[in-house]
């Protein structure tokens, strides 16, 4: 005969901590917290006829940035081509993109309606063409891309400061989209030069 209530004996939980420690250490070891970061770009659509389209762009609207096999940077707008240092590139690009003094050799300024916003006058037809040689160093190319990105960001920032009286970073998503419409990224990566019989 069992007598009355039987008590369930309390489990000994002193090893729970050890078990969870082992699990913890396992996850500590396998975890890789490296957050990926980088410079986002969008490639143009693959279109075999694209080469012909590029020829239709007026000369004043194009700035060619070329990095040759000696990793020297040349900038060409119109007929003038000159070698520059990487540190100069951002300001040259900014002047080219914005054309603040309405210079006749820099991109033409036209009226453009930013979707859902208002009509502005901007250099909507400008193109920065980026050319590299097959032996150009990747890091130089990356830095060029980075400087061009900076030029666009600074212009957008200046524009939002004028228009909305705040920094680009503090803007709402809509306002950021307007700024991107005002100065939209137009970097064309030229088709590589063809060598020998290597078909594409």
């Amino acid at each position: 005969m069992a007598k009355g209530k039987r008590k369930v004996p309390g489990l000994n939980q002193s090893s729970t901590a050890d078990i969870s420690f082992i699990l913890l250490i396992f996850f500590l070891v396998t975890t890789s917290m490296d957050t990926d970061s980088g410079l986002a770009r969008r490639l143009p659509e693959w279109d075999p006829d694209a080469v012909e389209q590029e020829l239709k762009i007026k000369e004043r609207n194009v700035m060619t940035v070329s990095v040759n096999k000696f990793n020297e940077i040349h900038v060409k707008n119109g007929v003038m081509s000159r070698q520059i240092e990487i540190s100069e590139l951002k300001d040259i690009a900014k002047e080219f993109i914005a054309n603040p003094e309405d210079n006749a050799s820099l991109p033409i300024k036209e009226e453009y309606e930013i979707p859902d916003f208002k009509t502005v006058v901007t250099t909507i037809k400008h193109v920065i063409s980026l050319q590299t040689d097959r032996v150009t160093n990747y890091e130089v190319y990356f830095q060029v891309q980075h400087e061009l990105s900076r030029a666009y960001s600074e212009l957008r920032d200046e524009w939002t400061r004028q228009t909305f009286r705040k920094k680009y970073d503090d803007c709402t998503d809509d306002e950021k989209a307007f700024a991107r419409g005002m100065y939209s990224t137009k970097i064309s990566e030229a088709e590589p030069k063809q060598y020998g019989t290597q078909g594409l």
Binding site: Q13, S14, T16, A17, S20, F21, L23, L24, F27, L28, T30, T31, S32, M33, T35, D36, S37, G38, L39, A40, R41, R42, L43, P44, E45, W46, V67, T132, D133, R134, V135, T136, N137, Y138, E139, Y141, F142, Q143, Q145, H146, S149, R150, S153, E189, P192, L200
Partner: protein
């Protein structure tokens, strides 16, 4: 005589450790959340470039596929030589394998995520542009147009 003086031996009271497992479980769950098991073994030496203010963090890792380009690492150098190679998933590949790789990656994603696919290019600093241009052309043909030049952010304090 003071009333603060204790009489006899003083014993350290034992600490109550009953909440220790809970504490550790919390930390454990944190690590379980943030962990992502490394699926691929990187077989190339890949020192990615450093950039400044323009470097953005990549969100939503499930959208990102990686392409590594660089010279094979020490263990693989005797077999593959020192010149830069492309690595897709776990193995070295040629440029013509990229299209299949993109298709396979795209297949493994949810339907609504497919247009958002991003290719993260982890390229060694000292690579020459030739191989990179070839890869980019292949990506264009495979309609994987969103790319990210992987780089680390250097904090510049002014």
């Amino acid at each position: 005589m003071s009333k603060f003086r204790s009489n006899g031996k003083r014993e350290m009271p034992e600490l109550n450790t009953s909440s220790l497992p809970d504490l550790i479980f919390t930390v454990l769950f944190f690590f379980m959340m943030v962990t992502s098991m490394r699926e691929v073994e990187v077989k190339v030496d890949c020192k990615i470039p450093t950039g400044g203010s323009e470097i953005e963090k990549l969100e939503r890792k499930s959208l990102v596929s990686h392409i590594y380009i660089g010279p094979p690492s020490k263990t693989w150098r005797p077999i593959y030589g020192p010149s830069p190679r492309i690595q897709l998933n776990d193995k070295f590949a040629e440029t013509n394998a990229i299209r299949e790789f993109v298709i396979a990656e795209r297949e493994s994603m949810y339907e609504h995520d497919k247009p958002l696919m991003k290719m993260s290019l982890k390229i060694d600093k000292d690579t020459q542009m030739g191989i990179i241009t070839d890869v980019k052309q292949e990506l264009r043909k495979a309609k994987a147009l969103n790319i990210v030049y992987s780089a680390t952010k250097e904090d510049k304090k002014k």
